[in-house]
Every structure is written in structure tokens, then in C-alpha cells.
């Protein structure tokens, strides 16, 4: 006799505001936030890099604070407000940090860039007028394997200046 067994894993309903849009999905509790954002939410700008909370490629903002979305369950973010790289620009106008990465050429292959920019946005919110040293420490959780750190730091310092001037 042929028998098919379908595994019944636990599921749950979660809801969160992602880039200003409220959304709700039925997920397994073990779903990682990064998986949730990339798959059901369809936002593939957030990258999976090391998958071990070392590299920071998956950095997003949860209630305004930078977190590594590979090491957070979507269930933990239930009810939260999430910002991903797709949510930074205002229509055709880039966010000051995006603009600064463009102007300072703060990227080479680009794989770390989304996480680097999200970490920088979160960092500048906490420290709007940082020194070079503070930027380096603030981004210690983000790795660029092209090692383009000089221009990344220059971009973050440039963005800080632009954002301070705009205040």
C-alpha cells in the first residue's frame, strides 16, 4: 500500500508594518525575519550573507533600531515596524545615506551595500554627528569582503554632514 505522510508543522499568523505598508502572513514560527522579508513579503533587497549574524548583509531596522534579520524570528517582529532598503527612498529621491554611498562610491560588488546602508541609517539616528572612529565602530557588525571600507566610511561621514545641514 502506498501511503503519503504530510508533516504538520506548527504555523502562526503574524502582522507587521513593512516600509509603511501593513501586512499579515501565515508562517511557521521558525521563519527567520530575513526569510519572511525576502519570500512572503517579496523584498529581496535584504541579502543573506553569512547567515550567522557576523556579516550584517541582512541588516534591517526594527522599530528604528538596526538588527541582523538572519538572527531574529519573524514571530519576534510581530507587531513591529520594519524598514528595509526598499523603504528608504522617497519616490525618486534617494535617502541621504543612499545618495552619499553613490557620491563617495561606497561600494564595489554591492552585496553588503543594503545591510551597510541600513546599519548606517540606524547608526546616524543614534549618533548624528560621528567621528571617523565612531563610524568605524558603529559599522563593526558589517563586513565588506571587497574591503571597500575607506569609501564606506567617507560616505557615512558625508551623509551625516548632509543630514545635519538639512536640520
Amino acid at each position: 500500500m502506498h501511503r503519503v505522510t504530510i508533516c504538520q508543522y506548527p504555523r502562526m499568523q503574524i502582522a507587521m508594518t513593512v516600509n509603511g505598508a501593513e501586512q499579515s502572513h501565515d508562517v511557521e514560527p521558525r521563519t527567520l525575519l530575513v526569510q519572511y522579508l525576502r519570500e512572503p513579503a517579496g523584498l529581496t533587497g535584504t541579502k543573506v550573507g553569512c547567515d550567522t549574524s557576523s556579516c550584517g548583509a541582512c541588516t534591517v531596522l526594527v522599530d528604528g533600531e538596526s538588527v541582523k534579520s538572519c538572527t531574529m524570528l519573524a514571530a519576534q517582529a510581530d507587531g513591529s515596524t520594519i524598514t528595509t532598503i526598499e523603504g528608504l527612498a522617497d519616490g525618486p529621491n534617494w535617502h541621504a545615506v543612499q545618495q552619499a554611498f553613490h557620491e563617495h562610491h561606497g561600494l564595489q560588488c554591492g552585496y553588503c551595500t543594503a545591510g551597510m546602508i541600513m546599519a548606517a541609517v540606524g547608526f546616524l539616528d543614534e549618533n548624528p554627528d560621528p567621528t571617523d572612529r565612531e563610524v568605524r565602530l558603529g559599522l563593526e557588525g558589517n563586513l565588506c569582503r571587497c574591503t571597500g571600507y575607506q569609501n564606506i566610511v567617507a560616505a557615512v561621514l558625508g551623509a551625516a554632514e548632509t543630514m545635519q545641514a538639512a536640520k
Binding site: 508543522y9 521558525r30 533600531e65
Partner: protein
Amino acid sequence: MIPAAFDYVRADSIDALLATLTEHGDEAKILAGGMSLLPLMKLRLAVPTVLVDAGRLDELRYVRDGGDHLAIGALTRHRDLETNDLLGAECGVVRAVAAEVGDNQVRHRGTIGGSVAHGDAASDLPAVLLALDADFVIRGPAGERVVPATEFFRGFLETALAPDELLTEIRVPKSGSNGFAYEKFNRRAQDWAIVGSVAVRAGGTTRVGLVNMGSIPLRGRAVEAALANGASPADAAEAAAEGTDPSADINATSEYRAHLARVLTRRALEAIG
């Protein structure tokens, strides 16, 4: 990497959390910030069938003046600690070392209680709390008990916590805003310490805590005894590896760790003068 399947229970009160733990015994694990537990679950080194999320218990997120000590709620995040002025004034070493944990993203999620309950000898804060003779407040089905740090860490990732208990509060003495130094050696900025050494003056004595020099966080008792007998910082630090049992791994041999313990302890002691 995806964790094995589990049932997720979000605790809305301490009592509800304890009831869930009682019901499921050692099948259940408490999730705080998840900075230690989730990586273990992704590697399937931890496979709880019930995950009890304590993350919304905001009543356990505080730093309060307890008279002769400071009381820190177990779910207080490293970011909260590194920006807390009361902590900076009354127990500056905890505030300063919290700022050395992981990176910004990790400190936004990770909690002091999670770090203590995980009991990793390579973590920064447990060795500091050990050096401070901190007390840990634990709630379980039988009520509350207080365990001194010296009796809390039992073995590799093993603590005094029973499967049906929750660490609720950490009590640290008022050691002041200065008179401490933490020396951490690692290869990349955000990495775990290969070895760390903290020196802190508290209660009229100089105490030393060692990170990653054995299966549990350790006190540098031989260094403390030498200092009490009038040895210079440099001479006392020579005893830093006594009574330790450092592991060997890809980063360092046991001998190299012993060397680091002596050097880092000397630097920490000289820094506090």
C-alpha cells in the same frame, strides 16, 4: 540555516512563562534577545520543541537603585546598558563592558539576562558580574531564590538555572563610575574574546575576572591574593593563568591563552593604577 520546527509561545507575564516551563519541562527553552540561542538553533545544536518568547516582558527591562546595589532587569538590552546614566555613575564597569559586546545590531537585541543564562565562558558580561560578586535573582514554581555569581556558573553552558526557572534580575554592587578596565583580545572587531580580563575595584579590593579561560567564566583568585599581599600589578598578573583550564582551538593554543591572560591582566591592572 533554519531551526527545527517548534511551537512558539509568547509569554505575556512572568507567571504565564513559568506555567509554560512547568508544563513542558526541559523540552522548552526561553527566548530572550536570541543572540545566543537562535544561532544554536539554526545549527540544530539546540532543538527545543517549545520556544517561550520572554521578549515582550518589559517589566524585566530596567536599571534601578536598590540602595546598596543596582538592580538590573534580566531583559535589559546591552544597548540600554551602554546608554544608562545611573549604571554609568554607580557601576560603570557594566555599562562600559556592555558597549563591548558584539556589535550595534547585536546590542540592540541581546540582553544581560540572556547572556548570563547562556553561561558562555567567552561572553564579556558574565566574567564582569563574577568579578563584582553579583547576585542573580531566579524565579521558579517554588518562588524566588538568589544565587551568588560564584555559585551560578557550573560547567560548559551549564548554570544553576533549572529548566522550569527564569532569571529575572541581576544585582551588582555600587562600584562607582571608574576604577575598572577591560582588556579584550580578538581577531575581528565584533568577535568573541579569544581571552578577556577585567579588573575592577569594588568593596575595597581589586577583583579580576577572566573571559574564555576555561569552561566557565573565572575569577583571577591568584592575582587577587597576590595584590592583597602587596604585589605590584606586573607581578600579580603573572599569576593570571593559575587555576585556569583554557581550551585550544583554531584561534589559540592553551599556552597562548595563558600568555594572553597574563598580558591582558597586567594591562588591566596597570590601567586602573
